[in-house]
């Protein structure tokens, strides 16, 4: 497989990158680690004439916590996220997703911006970001805007970003005490896999740790975009957490997804696994919430 021909650009600032994207509107793609984009180009799934490499823009690789918000630059690599103590402490499920992604070689190149930008329904990082209520910071030629990550995805490989826009950072409000999350992914083998189903759950308890105040569940690989299970969340909010409740919520989640059959797995199996993984991630979230009182 040979890469199709393209022009290679190396901007050193976000503004310059957006200018290049605007100038070659419709024919340009941002290039981060290339672990998704270059594969697709080799397979001739897409062949943009211009690649705008983001690797020389220093501000994209910041990873820091300030004023209760964790800022993850779009260019931060998955291996840095996997190893980050700030991530482990504030948003552990994001770290779990990062550790589950690909192989060490892939993780060293792959970026969080690319993982979101690829808009794969099976991707390992968006689900936990969704349940943490993360927002994307997008920059374009006409300025900056923020949007909840869920609004970014339109379909497999499709996003609501404008053609001159980049994700520059992901902002996650660090969850308060009495809250926790869990992420699980099920593939065929132990690593380097495309997920059959992946699920992230987030729970926040009231101050007495008796009832669930907030619940968010995100399901991957079972629809054209990552999905929230509002039915399951509704069941959970205000209720007393126990095994029985989590079973009901997991059951409810199976009604909030639209899995399809493909060669990786049947719709029926995917639905059944939404049940299992939702229940298990809720238990993980609960365990973490209890430990973070």
């Amino acid at each position: 497989m040979i890469l199709p021909k393209f022009e290679f650009h190396e901007p050193t600032s976000v503004a310059e990158a957006c200018d290049l994207l605007a100038r070659h509107r419709g024919k340009a793609r941002p290039l981060a680690g290339g672990t998704d984009l270059l594969v697709n180009m080799k397979k001739k799934v897409m062949s943009p004439g211009h690649l705008v490499w983001l690797g020389r823009i220093p501000e994209l690789s910041r990873l820091e916590r300030s004023n209760g918000t964790l800022w993850v630059g779009a260019g931060v690599t998955v291996s840095d996220i996997a190893a980050s103590e700030a991530v482990a402490k504030a948003v552990s499920a994001l770290g779990q997703g990062a550790r589950a992604l690909g192989t060490p070689l892939i993780r060293n190149l792959a970026t969080i911006g690319g993982n979101i930008g690829s808009a794969r329904p099976a991707a390992d990082l968006p689900l936990s970001l969704m349940v943490y209520g993360a927002e994307l910071v997008l920059a374009g030629t006409s300025g900056e805007r923020r949007m909840p990550i869920a609004e970014f995805f339109k379909g497999p490989g499709l996003t609501t970003a404008r053609e001159d826009e980049l994700i520059t950072a992901i902002a996650v409000e660090v969850p308060r005490g009495y809250s926790g999350a869990g992420y699980l992914n099920l593939g065929i083998r132990k690593s380097q896999d495309c997920n059959i189903v992946n699920v992230a759950s987030f729970l926040e308890l009231d101050e007495k740790a008796e009832r669930i105040r907030t619940a968010r569940i995100a399901l991957g690989s079972v629809g054209p975009t990552p999905l929230r299970s509002l039915k399951a969340e509704k069941l959970l909010v205000g209720a007393k957490p126990d095994e029985r409740l989590f079973e009901q919520a997991a059951q409810a989640a199976t009604h909030d997804c639209t899995p399809i059959l493909d060669f990786r797995g049947s719709a029926e199996y995917r639905r059944a696994m939404v049940d299992v993984l939702t229940r298990r991630t809720l238990a993980m979230a609960m365990a973490e919430a209890r430990s973070r009182t």
Binding site: M1, I2, T103, L186, I188, R189, K190, S191, Q192, D193, C194, I196, F263, R264, G265, S266, Y269, A272, M273, V276
Partner: protein, 784 residues
């Protein structure tokens, strides 16, 4: 401990330094001045008539040097077994699978060649395709080859003893149907080659192959060249597993293009093309009825098997025979009936892959034996031990177990795994299982009927003394055969391994059928040993003349001459040697006559010292039709215990531990033996749990890359305890026999039996993906 000085040790491999530093040269690293690059046009349809091929636009593309079709290649039919030569280089009238080759281009670079391929226009008339065994065998089904009616590529009907009568006397019979899935060889290095014609019309093909010899013969036949003008040279090869054991279209194409353009031509398969080339493990459907006595004595096996062969035959005739014959052992089985059908379908061609023909059959049967053991209330290990053959036994289909460490293997894995404390005592979701298996140490006969030696070897001493060169046409493909032959030569000659250089993989160095059927250690090993012994004899004879000591009173050990009857004055030889090397700083200082000095003296007396060796097995096997397939001078055997954990909610299986014992006769290099045991096990594990080549309804491979075709990764590999059993094979060099393929045999059934122990489920279809296991659990209503 053995009294061997070199073999049976853990010496580092000869190729370790170049491979560890990335300096080993593989075909893709090679290039020649003015080299062109080739690309192939392959059929996009599973079955179609070719109405017209228009190459004019491709020919006009700047940078294109040649475009060839069947008009240039001719229609010489070739294949693997002369009984079924059913391929031509390019299709001329019909394409039979997605990937069937139609034309090829040579151009200044790969991009141009591929672009040109896109400019070739072919008019097809699409024909109905058959994509499954059932479709292919149905009444009125579309036919792939007019010469082979009913889409039958081969069929086998054999009976040993009287199965119908025997079944009547059984206390218990069990019938099961079992199915594996089409595999891909998935070697790290896709095949590739560079063809170079010199100005005298001699062809040299550098190719990533397992068998320079078979490739040489086929090239000569198809290109109409005398064999003497065709040389095949193998650089380092990144695995083959059987798929590279026969010529491929890429090799033939590169040669044709090189001949037409007068320039070197390179062709490297892409990973997608590897899936279309295939030649890997068939899909088998086995139906077996086994009958036993109450006490567990095996009486009869009635066995039917269907193979989904793909569009051509390749090794398939041997495959359909092996699928039956390899159940003849290692248990005493007096009655066996086998009916096998290999069916053509409009898919890529299957062939030989590690454990050729026997892997799915073994998996099916060993699981069935466990079922029988359970119904009879006998421990599965006891059932196996009860029926086990012993060294010297001959199977009902005339396979001679000249050595058989099967019992030792079973006992070794039973003890090392802690079987007694685990079997039947593990919590739900955890299980333990075991199985056995055996395999040939080299096919008893070449793939073409011939009295040829299966291998020859030459050992030459450097004229200056001390260095030993081993020449053979054998194929080092990553398995470590060069190291094994270096060690065998060193042992036979009595020198340390670092005196020895192995130069192999070149048809100029003799005949060697190559690296398949686990043949090289035993067969090439014999030839190398014989050649080295011949050299030793010549050196000792020269010394005898020089020192006036009978040759029989001398020996060579660890690079020194041993005088059996006390000290001999060799100072004359030493001063002569030193005089010939005036100014050199490495004069021999040892207080013994060295091999270096002795071999120099031998050269001075006789000229270049060369010894040759050769090997072919004696006539083996019975006289019935197909008796040759399964014969071998020796059989390796193994037993494995698998310990698994099954997630009862998701169906996901995790192999927690494998205990693996293999009888390799005598380990030439212990580390290499363990490497083969672990590698076989990894491959078997992949077939058991994950691997399956999948097709869409248009006959296209869906998962034609290593992201979606799921091999086991390092993280999936369990801890493997390897135990080497040595039975000292009488027909092997230094007692050695195979380990390369036999070691895969027990893996799948051991896992199947462990999954049963964990879940109570007998699953009769591979792979055991979490989805399949989940479905089975659900069907049984099993929850937690």
């Amino acid at each position: 401990m053995s009294d061997h000085r070199v073999i049976n040790s853990r010496l580092p491999r000869l190729d370790a330094p170049v491979k560890a530093t990335g300096r080993a040269v593989f075909i893709d690293d090679m290039s020649f001045p003015n080299m062109l690059h080739a690309a192939m046009l392959q059929s996009p349809l599973p079955h179609a008539r070719i109405l017209k091929i228009d190459t004019s636009r491709a020919e006009r593309l700047p940078g294109v040097k040649a475009v060839i079709t069947s008009k240039d290649a001719g229609l010489v039919r070739y294949g693997v077994s002369p009984a079924r030569y059913d391929e031509t280089v390019f299709c001329h009238d019909r394409v039979r699978y997605v990937g069937d080759e139609i034309a090829a281009v040579a151009a200044v670079d790969k991009e141009t060649a591929e672009e040109a391929v896109g400019l070739i226009k072919v008019d097809f008339e699409e024909l109905p395709a058959v994509l499954t065994i059932e479709e292919a065998m149905a009444e009125g089904a579309p036919q792939l080859h007019a010469e082979y009616p009913r889409n039958l590529s081969a069929e086998v009907h054999q009976e040993f003893g009287n199965v119908a009568e025997a079944l009547k006397t059984c206390d218990l019979t069990k019938t099961t149907t079992f199915k594996n899935k089409r595999q891909d060889g998935a070697f790290l290095e896709p095949p590739g080659c560079i063809a170079v014609f010199d100005l005298d019309g001699r062809l040299t093909l550098h190719s990533s192959t397992q068998s320079p010899h078979y490739v040489q013969r086929t090239l000569a036949m198809v290109l109409g060249l005398p064999v003497g003008k065709v040389r095949v040279v193998k650089p380092y090869v990144g695995g083959g597993f059987g798929i590279k054991a026969a010529v491929n279209t890429g090799e033939l194409t590169a040669c044709l293009l090189a001949r037409k353009t007068g320039k070197p031509v390179k062709f490297i398969y892409s990973r997608e093309q590897v899936f279309m080339l295939c030649r890997a493990r068939h899909q088998f459907v086995h139906r077996m009825t086994t009958g036993v006595k109450k006490d567990g004595t095996l009486l009869a096996l009635q066995h039917e098997c269907y193979l989904d062969g793909g569009a051509y035959s390749s090794f398939g005739i041997a495959t359909v025979y092996y699928a039956g014959s390899l159940l003849g052992g290692p248990y005493k089985l007096p009655n066996m009936k086998y009916d096998g059908w290999r069916v053509y379908t409009n898919k890529p061609t299957c062939g030989a892959q590690r454990g050729h023909g026997g892997v799915a059959a073994r998996a099916a049967w060993e699981q069935q034996l466990d079922t029988i053991a359970e119904e009879l209330g006998i421990d599965p290990i006891e059932l196996r031990l009860k029926n086990m053959m012993q060294a010297g036994d001959v199977t009902c289909n005339d396979l001679n177990m000249s050595s058989l460490g099967m019992k030792e293997c079973i006992e070794a894995v039973r003890n090392a795994s802690g079987w007694a404390s685990k079997k039947g005592k593990l919590p739900r979701g955890k299980g333990i299982g075991m199985a056995c298996g055996f395999f040939v140490s080299g096919a008893g006969y070449p793939i073409y009927r011939s009295d040829t030696y299966h291998c020859t070897a030459t050992v030459k001493l450097a004229e200056d003394g001390g260095a030993v060169q081993v020449y053979s046409a054998s194929a080092e493909i990553g398995q470590g055969s060069d190291t094994a032959f270096g060690m065998i030569a060193a042992e036979a000659l009595g020198v340390p391994l670092d005196c020895v250089r192995v130069i192999s993989g070149d048809t100029d160095f003799g005949v060697d059928l190559g690296a398949y059927s686990s043949r090289q250690t035993l067969m090439t090993g014999h030839a190398v040993k014989e050649a080295a012994e011949e050299v030793k004899r010549q050196v000792l004879e020269a010394l005898a003349d020089e020192l006036k000591v009978p040759a029989a009173d001398m020996d060579i050990k660890e690079g020194r001459i041993v005088f059996k009857n006390g000290l001999v004055d060799y100072s004359g030889i030493r001063s002569r040697y030193i005089k010939e090397h005036r100014g050199w700083s490495d004069s021999p200082q040892e207080d013994a006559l060295t091999f270096r000095e002795a071999s120099r003296i031998a050269y001075l007396a006789k000229g270049t010292i060369v010894g040759t060796g050769k090997y072919k097995p004696p006539a083996l096997g019975g006289t019935f039709k197909g008796a040759a397939v399964g014969t071998s001078p020796a059989y390796g055997c193994s037993a494995q215990v698998a310990e698994v954990e099954v997630d009862l909610e998701t169906g996901k299986i995790v192999i927690e531990k494998m205990t693996d014992a293999h009888d390799c006769g005598r380990a030439i290099n212990r580390t290499s033996v363990e490497g083969q045991m672990e590698g076989s096990l990894a491959m078997g594990m992949g077939e058991a749990l994950f691997e399956e080549v999948k097709f869409d309804d248009r006959g296209r491979v869906i998962n034609c890359d290593l992201a979606e075709y799921k091999l086991v990764t390092a993280l999936d590999m369990p801890p493997v305890e390897t135990i080497i059993v040595e039975s000292d094979e009488p027909n092997g060099p230094f007692g050695a026999k195979e380990v390369g393929e036999g070691a895969i045999m027990p893996t799948i059934p051991a896992i199947l039996n462990a999954v049963y122990d964990a879940t109570g489920l007998r699953i009769h279809e591979l792979p055991l993906t979490s989805e399949r296991v989940h479905a089975a659990l659900k069907a049984r209503g099993i929850k937690q």
